[in-house]
């Protein structure tokens, strides 16, 4: 039986939401963002993109299923808190019957349930800027002082990316994945296609990458502002894109855009979900994909000589995909690996495979 204690989510604008605690009884700080996906809580909370963020689930019933061993997106999730309306009652026992509550306790992550998450989402929308929040046992002045005094790092990638290279061998094409906060979905898709993968830290130089003689390079997704990632990464991208096929995803897409002269803007309210219509310009078809966006490429800043836009989000007209005019390099803002989310853009990995094959000829 879970021990129920009052717990609060406080926001830097002074708002207090009271609920019941679950998971770890830790006090944490983070930006508060909301996700409108209908399922897949495990993939969401284990996505490293949520480093230093507290995630609010719009869908009220969360934790209905036990954690499943095949679908983690990382080993140690860097998320700072989970906020839900209705944490599922869970009376299962036995192996492979770990509840969300138990898992968050193990991972030292706090959760709050019985929150008016819809009101909270309205609050986040109304603020028009990212709001920091804290999960606390007492919502007093001290808690607010602590929240206001907290400085969240702007070096998110350095906190979550691997410091050391590691291999993920297979028998197919050789791919280097640059880890900016890699989610397992990307590795899963490459494994499915038998890629012989080496994951390198984001600090890897073009020389170190090319020394492995890869057929292609993937720039992974990850947390935070791409403009705060060390500038050597941009130089690396500029060099590598000339030599081998390149595929950028999420933060990797933003960095690819920056490396090619585009500008990045911060969204006033982050968008996390999988229900926006995204138009593929070349086919004029609409697809759906998981999105976790805090930053977007400025459409007007895209250098049409170097890049062209491949996907746009119909709702806000934002750039969702880019392709280089000269080099075999492309990128998407969304997650083509799903996990969780639709498979419709999954074929982008096949496209990347084709690209690597062609470059070999």
């Amino acid at each position: 039986m879970r021990i129920v204690a009052e717990r609060y989510l406080i926001l830097e604008d002074g708002t207090v939401f009271s609920g019941e605690g679950f998971g770890a009884p830790a006090v944490t700080f983070g930006e508060v963002v909301f996700n409108t996906a209908m399922a897949g809580y495990q993939e969401i909370i284990t996505n490293p993109v949520y480093f230093n963020q507290i995630v609010v689930f719009a869908q009220p019933n969360v934790g209905n299923l036990p954690l499943h061993r095949n679908i983690y997106e990382t080993i140690t999730p860097p998320i700072k808190g989970v906020v839900v309306r209705d944490l599922a009652a869970f009376n299962r026992q036995g192996p492979r019957q770990v509840s969300l509550d138990q898992y968050l306790l193990q991972m030292n992550i706090p959760g709050v349930t019985n929150i008016d998450t819809r009101a909270l989402i309205h609050r986040l929308n109304a603020a028009g800027r990212p709001l920091r929040g804290s999960i606390v046992p007492v919502a007093d002045d001290h808690a607010f002082d602590q929240l206001h005094a907290t400085v969240l790092t702007n070096q998110q990638v350095a906190q979550v990316a691997t410091p050391k290279p590691f291999p993920n061998p297979d028998v197919g094409q050789t791919v280097v994945v640059i880890d900016f906060g890699l989610k397992n979905g990307i590795l899963r898709e490459l494994s499915r296609r038998k890629c012989n993968v080496t994951v390198l830290p984001f600090s890897a130089s073009a020389e170190e990458i090319l020394r492995l003689d890869p057929d292609g390079v993937v720039l992974s997704s990850g947390p935070g502002n791409p403009q705060n990632v060390r500038s050597s990464v941009l130089t690396m991208i500029q060099t590598v894109q000339k030599r081998v096929p390149l595929f950028g995803i999420g933060l990797g897409h933003e960095l690819f855009a920056l490396a090619n002269g585009a500008k990045i803007r911060r969204l006033p309210v982050e968008h996390h979900g999988q229900n926006h219509p995204i138009k593929e310009i070349i086919t004029d078809q609409i697809v759906y994909a998981s999105q976790a966006e805090g930053f977007l490429v400025e459409r007007d800043s895209v250098d049409r000589q170097a890049l062209y836009v491949t996907y746009v989000d119909l709702l806000d007209n934002s750039v969702q995909g880019l392709r280089h005019r000269q080099y075999p390099a492309f990128s998407v803002q969304f997650f083509p690996d799903g996990a969780p989310g639709p498979d419709e853009t999954n074929a982008l990995f096949d496209e990347f495979m084709e690209m690597m094959k062609e470059e070999h000829l």
Binding site: A58, P60, A89, N114, G273, Q274, P277, D343
Partner: protein
């Protein structure tokens, strides 16, 4: 006549066990969208309770005729329509359309079929052809094969596993089916089946009973763009008809991987069948192996589509109208407070929605009937909440009198109810949890996912807490937060709902209202439909004055069918015409009232005291309008005189049980004058019930009846519609006391006289009635329809029963 192309819409015909008004409600919205796209709408239908033709700017031309091949052929020859819409008439309309296509008439007049190509219609009408197509695209379906020997059967079973269903191959339908679980049973069943088959063949079929049922609704436009409108999970396993199952949206117990796999297959099928509009795909999912099977594909409008619409706030029917008219999802602009591009945005929920079937088995004298693959429920109710329990308890509100009725049941009897589920099967499940059954064990017995049982356990724990702490503020706060109704708490605390309302007010336990928006709060959208919960933020503000609060008719019941919904919809329309904002409270997802063109604002809530009182406190309506509101006098605002309660005249005479002929004089009385509406003859026989307008009468009878009727209207009577009945006994007309006719009769009279009797009633209530209106209208054209035949669910439920008016399920109109 303008040059706008005509679309011929095939109506659904009489309501039956499969249709409970949802097609008519959808028709209104679809037709409005078609008109917006530049079509003239022509409807062929013979359902007297179809309100679509009566609403302004919906149906341009209405032919009262059964939607048969002959009638449609005639209509096509006369109208030469540009298009035919076969997807609002259920399966029957698709069968009719296939025959029309085969006859060549569609080609002859260049009539385009909306929604799907003919080839698809042929496949949908022929399951084995459809199965072939599904196989081609790699979708797994149930394995089925003929065998002639036990050895063949054993080989097949080795491949597909037990259990299997074995039946003999016989030319006629109705061969015996046996479900077998082991080789011994198989041997026996196969040899029996082969013996009974003239061709010495047995069919061995994989049984999917016990698997989880998942339903997906996909929208597709003519450019091929697809989106998932919803994925619905049925609590009850395969083996219980989806319409008799408790349905929940969004799915609660699926991994994202499973969701995406089923989505991919649903998209593939929809693309392959080239459906334009919506497609409803049903799956059976084996949770242990992850394997899933396509069990049904319905590319037409049905019950699920309306549930999805009300649960998500996504305007499924309106979008559907635009899609079949050829618009693309990305180009559809939705008004009614919805954001740009919402049509192309997959709906997401920040609420849980439950659809609960409503049964009439007690009324029909059917006891102990197990739930099977054949549908038994007659209606359904929707519950929306911010947690699974809240949504479920709201839907279960209709069952509150029976909630604790199983307390005295023996353990063995209870086990039987758990293993062999009957209507309202959740009540024994709750009882089992009260008695300490482990949820894991119960999951085995009931085939309900343990997730649900664990949530039900929380419900039982809350009950215990309430029992242990009578009149305790914290217990009440918790119970309300998780969705307990005042009725349930009242049963546990032995107090009335008015007392509980007072306690809640004293303790500041306030209900708040949330808007049903399809983006889960991401976008600022205001579709104007709300539901209640107990949280911080309230989103509902009163609508502009003057306003009425209209209580919907609730789930369909036997007796009036959806006539109540028809009348209330016309009442709403008239109030709007009179300049009132109409606020509706309704929990039947299939109601025609749930349409922003009909009502200004909607609350998807139970129509019981506690909700009505709360909504009234917020809206402060000038009028409270209902068919009957037993607690009206107890409502604070009615007591205070702020709100006037108006109830449509109840049928003051209990429906006749005897089988006989009754002559009825129908008259409208405005308090001063009488307006005769004509004579009807009610024919009650064990085989059927019919009523006929302006029948041929024995000489002199009409005059005698009219005199008696006029005499029976005394000045003390309240204004309204009255009926004076007479029976011929030994050649003499025996006159019964004057009474007010039942709602279905009001509908019939409205149709045959062409008078909007609902509007007349509204005007009377508003004191805006003028006899001149009625006289003028009556001199106008009358409808040709002369007979209404009542229809009953007996055959569908395998009941051998003589007809009773109180068990009418639907009706059809006949024209001389």
């Amino acid at each position: 006549m303008t040059a706008e192309p005509v679309v011929l819409i095939i109506g659904a015909g009489a309501d039956n066990l499969q249709h409970e008004g949802e097609l008519n409600a959808a028709l209104v919205k679809v037709a409005q969208a078609l008109k917006k796209s530049g079509y003239q709408t022509h409807l062929i239908d013979n359902n007297p309770f179809n309100v679509a033709p009566e609403l302004p700017a919906v149906i341009d031309h209405y032919s009262v005729a059964a939607p048969t091949v002959a009638n449609l052929t005639r209509a096509i020859e006369q109208l030469q329509p540009a298009a035919l819409l076969p997807t609002l008439g259920g399966r029957a309309a698709l069968q009719v359309t296939e025959r029309l296509a085969t006859s060549g008439i569609l080609n002859k007049y260049g009539v385009k079929i909306m929604g799907m190509p003919v080839a698809t219609i042929r496949q949908v009408n022929n399951p084995s052809v459809l199965n072939q197509t599904l196989k081609q695209i790699g979708a797994t379906t149930k394995k089925i094969a003929p065998v002639t020997t036990y050895a063949d059967a054993r080989d097949l079973v080795d491949e597909i596993g037990f259990p299997v269903v074995v039946r003999s191959v016989v030319p006629q339908a109705g061969s015996l089916r046996r479900i077998v679980h082991d080789y011994h049973e198989l041997q026996l069943a196969v040899s029996t089946a082969i013996q009974h088959s003239p061709s010495h063949q047995a069919m061995v079929q994989q049984s999917l009973a016990g698997l989880k049922e998942i339903e997906v609704v996909v929208a597709r436009d003519q450019s091929g763009m697809m989106m998932q409108l919803a994925m619905v999970e049925d609590l009850d396993p395969i083996g219980i008809h989806a319409g008799d199952s408790v349905a929940v949206l969004p799915t609660q117990t699926l991994l994202d991987r499973q969701i995406q796999d089923m989505r991919d297959v649903a998209f593939k099928i929809t693309r392959k069948l080239r459906v334009v509009g919506i497609n409803h795909v049903q799956f059976a999912l084996n949770q242990l192996t992850g394997q899933f099977y396509v069990i049904k594909n319905s590319p037409y409008f049905d019950r699920l589509a309306t549930f999805v619409e009300q649960a998500t706030g996504y305007p499924v029917a309106r979008v559907y109208g635009h899609l079949v008219a050829g618009k693309l999802l990305r180009d559809i602009r939705l008004d009614h407070g919805l954001a740009k591009h919402t049509a192309a945005m997959e709906p997401v929920l920040d609420r849980t929605a439950i659809r609960l079937p409503v049964f009439a088995n007690d009324q029909l004298g059917v006891q102990n009937k197990e739930l099977t693959t054949e549908k038994q429920s007659v209606g359904s109710v929707l519950g929306l909440g911010r947690s699974l329990l809240e949504a479920l308890l709201k839907a279960l509100g209709e069952l509150h009198p029976d909630f604790y009725a199983l307390a005295d049941l023996g353990d063995e009897e209870l086990d039987q109810l758990l293993i062999h589920p009957r209507p309202n099967r959740l009540l024994p499940v709750f009882e089992a949890i009260r008695r300490g059954y482990l949820t894991s064990e119960l999951s085995e017995l009931t085939k309900l996912d343990q997730y649900y049982l664990d949530q039900f356990k929380r419900l039982v724990e809350l009950e215990k807490r309430l029992l242990q702490a009578p009149k305790d503020r914290a217990a009440l706060t918790a119970a309300k937060y998780w969705g307990f109704s005042d009725r349930l708490i009242g049963q546990l605390w032995q107090c009335s709902v008015t007392e509980l309302r007072a306690l809640r007010q004293e303790w500041q336990i306030h209900r708040t209202f949330k808007e049903v928006d399809p983006s889960a709060g991401e976008l600022a959208q205001h579709p104007g439909t709300y539901y209640a919960t107990f949280e911080m933020e309230n989103e509902s503000q009163p609508v502009a004055k003057p306003r009425v609060l209209l209580l919907g008719a609730g789930p369909r019941t036997l007796g009036n069918g959806v006539a109540n919904d028809y009348l209330l919809t016309r009442v709403a329309a008239e109030f709007k015409r009179q300049g009132y904002a109409v606020v509706v409270v309704e929990n039947n997802p299939n109601s025609a009232l749930l349409n922003r063109a009909v009502a200004t604002k909607g609350y998807l809530e139970p129509r019981d005291y506690e909700w009505v009182a709360a909504i009234m406190a917020l809206e402060r309506p000038d009028y409270l309008v209902s068919l009957a509101c037993p607690f009206a006098a107890e409502l604070p605002l009615v007591k205070a005189g702020t709100t006037r309660a108006l109830a449509l005249p109840p049928a003051s005479l209990t429906a006749p049980v005897a089988h006989e002929v009754r002559y009825q004089y129908n008259v409208f009385f405005d308090g001063h004058y009488t307006y005769p509406l004509g004579i009807t003859r009610l024919l009650l026989t064990p085989a059927g019930i019919k009523t006929e307008f302006a029948p041929d009468l024995p000489a002199g009878l009409g005059q005698t009846l009219a005199q008696a009727g006029e005499a029976a209207v005394s000045p003390e009577l309240a204004p309204g519609l009255y009926q004076v009945e007479g029976q011929l006994i030994d050649g003499q007309l025996a006159i019964q006391p004057i009474h007010q006719p039942a709602p279905w009769m009001l509908v019939f009279l409205s149709q045959v006289t062409g008078l909007d009797l609902a509007a007349v009633w509204v005007r009377l209530a508003l004191q805006k009635f003028s006899g001149r209106l009625l006289t003028a209208a009556m001199q106008g054209q009358r409808r040709q329809a002369t007979r209404l035949e009542a229809l009953f669910p007996y055959a569908a439920l395998h009941l051998n029963r003589s007809t009773r008016l109180s068990e009418m399920m639907g009706a059809r109109l006949e024209i001389e």
